[in-house]
């Protein structure tokens, strides 16, 4: 390649075109595969199916547009995938295993495959609680917490996710959904308040209310047992 260094060599000003090109060439890659797109969409719509009673993709609101028909055809195609995803989600719920309780993994329809790809959870070291000792290793509570976290991610973001640009400092001090054990910073009263808020949300489904309510009750009981 030509010299990557420009006329302002030695200064720490902005990179010149050649330098930026060298950097971009290093970071760039071939076009991502379609498989990645499908993986993302599979996970997203499976999560959607898991958080709605109907478990189907909502009809596009702008059906008068020319592309609406094509969108509907694609949506019909998703129904088959969603049925499969729903079965996987059900298995995740019925057979809670330690390797499947990571917050992010539990939300994916492709969870078993992803867990296999990633290797043992312990290797990744992502089970460490925010406050050591404050969170039980009880799988049930952890699985329920992951499921409740998904519900809250739909209704309480961007304020409660530190990776989102509009997260609020005060909200993150209560709980941060980016943390594996997001509830470990919450008092009993704050947990109960979260459950109450979800119940009162106009946009929440019965399933979502049940998920959060079940988790909060389980966590409060666990804390009571732990003293």
């Amino acid at each position: 390649m030509d010299s990557p260094l420009g006329a302002d060599e030695g200064s720490n000003g902005a990179l010149n075109d050649d330098e930026r090109a060298a950097l971009a060439a290093w970071a760039d890659d071939d076009d991502p595969s379609d498989a990645f797109t499908e993986k993302v969409l599979c996970a997203w719509f499976a999560e959607q199916a898991g958080s709605t009673e109907e478990g189907v993709v909502e009809e596009p609101a702008l059906t008068s547009e020319p592309r609406a028909a094509a969108s509907r055809r694609r949506a019909v195609g998703w129904v088959g995938a969603l049925a499969t995803a729903a079965v996987v989600m059900l298995m995740v719920r019925v057979l809670p295993r330690a390797s499947e309780v990571e917050r992010e993994t539990a939300g994916h329809a492709c969870a078993p495959a992803m867990a296999q790809e990633r290797g043992p959870a312990d290797e990744r070291g992502r089970h460490e609680p925010m406050t050591p000792g404050a969170v039980s290793a009880e799988p049930e509570s952890t699985v329920l917490g992951a499921q409740a976290g998904q519900v809250l991610a739909h209704h309480c973001n961007p304020c409660h996710d530190s990776t989102l640009p509009d997260a609020k400092t005060g909200a993150l001090e209560v709980f941060d959904l980016d943390k594996p054990y997001w509830w470990s910073t919450m008092s009993d009263a704050q947990l109960e308040d979260a459950s109450l808020r979800v119940r009162e949300l106009a946009g929440s489904t019965d399933d979502e209310r049940e998920r959060v309510g079940t988790f909060v009750q389980a966590e409060l009981q666990r804390r009571a047992r732990a003293g």
């Binding site: 390649m1 990557p4 260094l5 060599e9 030695g10 720490n12 000003g13 902005a14 990179l15 330098e19 930026r20 060298a22 950097l23 971009a24 060439a25 290093w26 970071a27 760039d28 890659d29 076009d31 991502p32 990645f36 797109t37 993986k39 993302v40 969409l41 996970a43 997203w44 719509f45 999560e47 993709v57 909502e58 596009p60 609101a61 702008l62 547009e65 094509a70 969108s71 694609r74 992010e104 939300g107 994916h108 992803m114 790809e117 990633r118 990744r124 070291g125 992502r126 460490e128 991610a153 739909h154 973001n157 961007p158 996710d161 530190s162 990776t163 989102l164 640009p165 509009d166 980016d178």
Partner: protein, 190 residues
């Protein structure tokens, strides 16, 4: 980052459809922005020896984005692309914070990444030098540098993403640029 074959943004109508959960629009959003997101994560994670997490964290980035998308307001410079890169950067920084980067020789890092990533590194004569220079940077410096030089965010935007002041952004950029220039100069001399 170059944007071959794809427009910078999806249009407003498609964004509104994605916000309403339209499957085709969600697909378009991923397809239009996955390269940018993957590129940022690759540049953040591979130098830290975490190349194996790039796709997982890219997926996590899009899932977080979809969850928050109904409330996204793409006014002015706060474009969807910038928003997504911000999320990707924070996801990567949080991952590196949870598990500090492994300190490895570059050859070890290179061997440990997937074949595709290795091909990227070796495709360019200065790739190794750039990677080494970036690997030497603390993650927060790396983030600031990539947001500026790869994605064109201004100082204020970078400050907001990294939750630091503008002066700190400038000093981090200065240090990162100096490292990169030194690395490239060594390649050139050598």
């Amino acid at each position: 980052m170059t944007e071959r074959h794809q427009p910078y943004e999806i249009d407003d109508l498609e964004l509104r459809r994605a916000q309403q959960g339209d499957a085709a629009a969600c697909r378009a959003l991923v397809m239009r922005h996955q390269r940018r997101v993957l590129g940022q994560l690759r540049a953040m994670l591979i130098p830290a020896g975490r190349g194996g997490l790039v796709e997982d964290l890219a997926q996590e980035t899009f899932l977080r984005a979809f969850r928050a998308l109904p409330r996204f307001r793409g006014d002015g410079r706060a474009s969807l692309a910038t928003w997504l890169v911000t999320i990707a950067t924070r996801v990567a920084l949080n991952e590196l914070r949870r598990r500090p980067p492994r300190v490895e020789a570059l050859d070890t890092v290179t061997e440990s990444v997937k074949a595709g990533e290795t091909a990227v590194i070796e495709r360019h004569a200065s790739g190794r030098a750039i990677e080494q220079a970036i690997a030497d940077l603390p993650p927060a410096y790396r983030g600031a540098f990539l947001l500026r030089e790869l994605h064109g965010l201004d100082y204020g935007e970078i400050a907001k993403v990294l939750e630091i002041d503008v002066g700190t952004v400038k000093s981090r950029l200065s240090r990162a640029r100096a490292r990169l220039r030194q690395a490239l100069a060594e390649v050139q001399d050598g």
